[in-house]
Amino acid sequence: VDRNNFKTCDQSGFCKRLRPFKPEKSQYTLNLDTVIVHGNVLSAEVTTANTEAEKKVPLWKYSLTLSALVDGTFRIQVDEADPIYPRYRTQLALDGEPKADGLQLVSKEGGKVTLTNTQGHKVLITAEPLKFEFLDQNGDVAVVINENSQLLIEPLRLKREKNDEDEENAENAVEVEEEGTWGENFKSHHDSKPRGNEAVSLDVSFPDADQIYGIPEHTDKFALRTTTSGEPYRLYNLDVFEYELDSRMAIYGAVPVLYAHGSKRTVGVFWHNSAETWVDVVNYADGTVVSSLVNLVTGGHKRRVDARFISESGIVDVFVMLGNKPADVFRQYTKLTGVTPLPPKFSLAYHQSRWNYVDEADVRGVDENFDVHDIPADVIWLDIEYTDRKKYFTWDSEKFRHPAEMVANLTAKGRRLVVIIDPHIKREAGYFLHEDATEQGLYVKDKDGNIYEGWCWPGSSSYLDFFNPAASKYYSERYRFENFPGTSKDVHIWNDMNEPSVFNGPEITMPKDCRHYKPPQDGQDGLASYWEHRHIHNEYGLWQIRATNEGMLERADHKYRPFILTRSTFAGTQRYAAVWTGDNAAEWGFLQASVPMCLSLAAAGVSFCGSDVGGFFKYPEPELMTRWYQAGAYQAFFRAHSHIETKRREPWLYEPSTTALLRDAVRRRYALLDFWYTLFYEHTLDGTPVTRPYFQEYPNEEETYTIDDQYLLGDKLLVRPVLEAGAKSVKVYLPGRDTNTLWYDVDSYQMHKANGYFNQEVNIAKIPVYQRGGSVVPRRERVRRSSTLMANDPFTLVVALDANNTAQGSLYIDDGETYEYKNNKYIYAKISYEPKQMTYTLVNPSAQFSSRAWIERIVIAGIRAAPRTARLHHGGRSTALQMTLHRGNDVLVIRKPGAPVSEDWSIQFAE
């Protein structure tokens, strides 16, 4: 990375200004007389005192609301009581208005207000200095806001004209304007800052917390580190060329949610703000935190983490989620910002991409080679070169003369095409999109109100202003089949460069003083009549993918589920798109980083995450390529991709022995595709991550808190990808010691008792994956050319027994691509094993889906006392089943039970 292109805190005016701000005590005071509790909302006035000590905080009035929301969540909003024009409130992060919980005023005495919700959480508001304490259901303080007095809202002011020499206005004259208030420079770029300073800041303390997590996207560890001695974590969506590892620099995504975890509880805070944001972290257990400070703040008690958000603009709008287990707090966050809707099934399979497959013959060749080499694949991707000279919604008419035929050739084998559509629009006379956007005023404007021009792939470009409903609507309509000839319901979309990337812009993005559309309102003109890019920056990509999503729904009459991949990420992105970790490189470090990066995104709602398998820049040698495929096979978004200037690397271009390993990795993915699909279905029900950190399932096991090179899929599979060159063995942590958890190696069914770390020997073919004792995992072992072609194939159920010889699992099946599941056209079955019987039961009997799939095999691992007979009971009939016991590893295989997946059945075992 060229760090010179990107700001440090010191180069970012508001960060430099606010970071040192830490007054003795907060100047913000709650005016107790104004407190009103109505419905689920407390509203009150907050004022600041103009003390001598802190000139930074002038005498000012603010409005406070505190609302109780369902599922143990509270929201605090602080805005100016009467701003000279409205401050920006982030619009798309929330999945609709959060649902209210009851809020009751318990007491208002001694300078304190005490409130409670219906779940027994309490909020204590201290009036002066203002402080909020959130108490868990045991009455212990779980979250404190403004403990460190860093609440700050810079009031909006009018810029005084230079010729204004009004002597009478003495008060204003005394006020010294800080340098940079009305304009800042970075490198050759000038930010005109027409509204002056408008930053906000807030500190949050987490007593009893061992670690905090969240605020993706960074290349740092999953557990956040103390920032005192360096840069804060930065949240500002940026296209960072050759981004670096182990860094708190901002990259493509910014999700301002934090989770604090300790053995006592897990809580979370969602900072609802789309402006550039910096986050400082102090973990009192961290060696770098001065011990005197630890003693001062925590009374010698080392478990506590403080965090602090600093944003350039907006209001203070923060959600406090009181958990109190990890799964609860992850769910609470997705209740606010939404879950990943059930993806079309193909999108969970293997994707083959390259910048670029050069023409139709190339696409056909790649497609055919997957069959020649017997490697399954579901999707071929086209990067920017398929277009007519980077004009989106067009095709290069020489190289892609028959796109519809090309797509048909793919769909004949159940495959799909994904094409890229970026938000920058080529400024070329005669290009319909550019002409329409110019004519209809759909572009983002510059600081003077003219159409903004930046530089991107096509050269001179302008950017659609999705904040303008007409622009979003127009954009959505471009996806109609008649407007984008050659596409069909089987062509899906990749929205890249949507930070937005502007090659000649400050920090390779759009200038902050660019103007976005704001719905006109009476009496609002001038600065009140538009939003600046600084207010909305991190949200920009979300507006684009929302319009894409809408367009893809409409093009097929809302019948088919769209698949979208986005690079820019914000809170709520998961409702529309999958995310990948951007332009990585073929280096072991980037393979390693993909695991914590996706764990962090998954915790922040974005379970559908992956990295460019093989690395985007550079060329992966066979070992790295093999390990990356093996890792990718167990990450949600599984796509190989590469840079145009790199050597081709489709799986068959390696030595046959390597190709065989890549084939094996991809086949493993396909065998587990229904397991993945079921996990994503269950994610829509409970909102918890599909790929999970250990502590989500084992919250009391302290060793797991910082583990981020291995993880769980649902609560059933444990994955420890091999991330090191030349590995002969890897350290695998098996959690669940206290609950006598057993883990079965999925290759051998060898049982391990959970006891922390052990060394797993590996060769180049080995991927250490373990199934938890007590779980049932569905597999399809007849791997075909694509997932679509496997729809009617039979299942193998792998039952791994726990210490009590029981196991549970589930299976979800539907048509894989439509919304018919919302009309009860699906199968969702719970599978339960006990020593005497195994049952398969539809959870919702009114949901039906006709499937020819059946159960061809049941594998029971860890069986000590094998039954002599087994009979299948189904539809009033009873059939004797054949079984084989494999003594060596205590595995019982039931041969061909032939039970259907669409109806209830049971198997009775007898001694």
């Binding site: 007849r782 061809e856 061909k896």
Partner: protein
């Protein structure tokens, strides 16, 4: 089509391995199962042999007879997946209406294509025979020219040897008369060296006494530290590195060692310190600063720059120029002898060059003769022939057995896509593929290379050029040299099986 009863998906040749009257043993011999487990849609054999007709085994093989066309083996994962893979449609028996039997049609087309190829090869074969004839002729001519060259070489070597002997003779004479001059020069040189050495020691001794402030005849680190001359990088401080540079690892240095080791190194700095070597310093420094600015923009590591500059500032030893012998003035007689020797040297050099030229020619001819032009020299006359192919953006040029280039239509330099490498066809088709390797390197990538796939055609021309992999080009080339009617007839009979 055969009437031998066999399980679904089994080829005629393997039918005998599936006997309904016996238990079935997997081909790998590991498991024996009742015969009714064969094709029962459950995989019992690790090798997949019990399920030739279903998709139950991951590694199974399904055989389609494809009567009317070519029989085929497909992976059993393609059985009943809804895609028609066999032209007779037998792979989709679960839903027989899915696939039509297209074998007759496809067979007809395949036979017609085979016939077309056979005709082409037949027509092209005449041209190929001509090429072979010309190739052989060319080769014979080359061989003849080569043998003539060998003769020329013998002659040239003879001349060279004569000239060499004459040269040696005259040079001996020349040496003799020049010895007098050389001796005188040597004496003068020694005298000067001696003088200089003495001066150095004298100077060194003076400086030593100056540095040796306590007059104990030993220079210590402390004494050195205060002397500016030791501040090699001129950072205002004599640091450890600099002390080590001049004194070695010792804590101190005595006079003898100082004079022999330290002083020669130190002298330039000491002189510079005194301004002895500061010729036109002011101007130079200005220049240096300018370049400094320029480099700073490119190089971020300023530390490196300073070090380089420090070395630049070092006064250079001025080499004492040795006058060339030729420029000296001799007496007339000596001059005559020198001139004669010079002339003999020139003639000998010319003779030697002539030999080298012939040898180089011989090597070229040998290389050409060694070049592999096909089993019957059918490609020999194509050597050096250049073909062009244009697409939207580029003009490609292939000079056979030489090189491949690409030139953008928008101008710009020619880019080498590879130089003649080798024949690279697989197995018995060695002469179907040419490789041109080691072209211009790609940005961030390997050297460009080109693969030429050769097909039978009535004229030699490029059919297409593509870049399937970055910086790896593919040319489809047609030429009569690749036509072979014996080959074609074989192919045809195979197709009709």
């Amino acid at each position: 089509q055969s009437d031998v009863p066999r399980p679904r998906g089994v080829s005629l040749s393997k039918a005998s391995l599936y006997s309904p009257t016996k238990d079935f043993t997997c081909f790998d011999g590991t498991v024996t199962i009742p015969f009714n487990y064969v094709n029962d849609d459950y995989c019992d054999c690790f090798d997949g042999s019990d399920e030739p007709g279903t998709s139950a085994c991951l590694n199974g093989v399904f055989h389609c007879t494809n009567a009317g066309h070519r029989p085929e083996n497909i992976p059993s994962s393609r059985v009943n997946d809804g895609v028609c893979d066999c032209c007779d449609g037998t792979d989709e028996y679960a839903q027989p209406e899915t696939c039509k039997n297209t074998c007759e049609e496809m067979g007809r087309e395949a036979r017609a294509e085979a016939q077309r190829l056979a005709d082409l090869h037949k027509a092209g074969n005449h041209l190929r025979l001509e090429l072979i004839e010309k190739g052989k002729k060319k080769r014979n001519e080359l061989a003849e020219q080569l043998s003539q060259l060998e003769k020329d070489k013998t002659e040239a070597i003879k001349i060279k040897e004569e000239k060499e002997s004459l040269k040696n003779q005259l040079e001996a004479k020349e040496n003799e008369v020049l010895q007098v001059y050389r001796d005188a020069e040597e004496k003068e040189r020694k005298r000067k060296a001696e003088e200089e050495k003495e001066a150095l020691i004298k100077e060194g001794t003076e400086y030593f006494s100056m540095f040796d402030t306590n007059d104990d005849n030993v220079l210590t680190v402390d004494e050195v530290k205060v002397v500016n001359a030791f501040d090699k990088n001129k950072d205002g401080e004599v640091d450890q590195e600099e002390i080590q540079y001049f004194l070695g690892t010792n804590e101190s240095v005595d006079k003898e060692t100082f004079l022999s080791t330290t002083w020669p190194m130190l002298k330039p700095f000491a002189m510079s310190e005194q301004g002895v070597f500061q010729r036109g310093v002011e101007n130079e420094e200005l220049d240096d600063q300018d370049t400094d600015e320029a480099t700073r923009d490119i190089e971020t590591d300023e530390g490196d720059n300073e070090e380089e500059n420090a070395e630049d500032d070092l006064p250079q030893d001025v080499d004492q120029e040795v006058e060339p012998e030729s420029s000296r003035i001799y007496d007339d007689e000596t001059q005559k002898i020198v001139d004669e020797a010079s002339e003999a040297r020139r003639q000998w050099t010319d003779a030697e060059r002539a030999v080298r030229e012939i040898e180089s020619n011989i090597r070229n001819f040998q290389q050409n003769l060694e070049k592999d032009y096909g089993l019957q020299q059918e490609y020999a006359t194509l050597d050096g022939q250049c073909l062009e192919y244009e697409d939207k953006e580029y003009v490609y040029k292939l000079c056979l057995f030489q090189k491949v280039t690409q030139k953008s239509k928008n101008g710009g330099a020619e880019v080498g896509l590879g130089n003649w490498g080798e024949w690279a066809g697989e197995d018995n088709k060695k002469y179907s593929v040419m490789k041109y390797t080691n072209g211009i390197a790609c940005w961030n990538g390997p050297n460009r290379m080109t693969t030429v796939n050769i097909h039978c055609g009535l004229e030699t021309k490029m059919l297409s050029v593509s870049e399937p992999y970055r910086c790896e080009y593919n040319i489809e080339l047609a030429t009569p040299a690749a036509c072979d009617d014996s080959n074609a007839s074989q192919q045809q009979s195979h197709d009709e099986l």
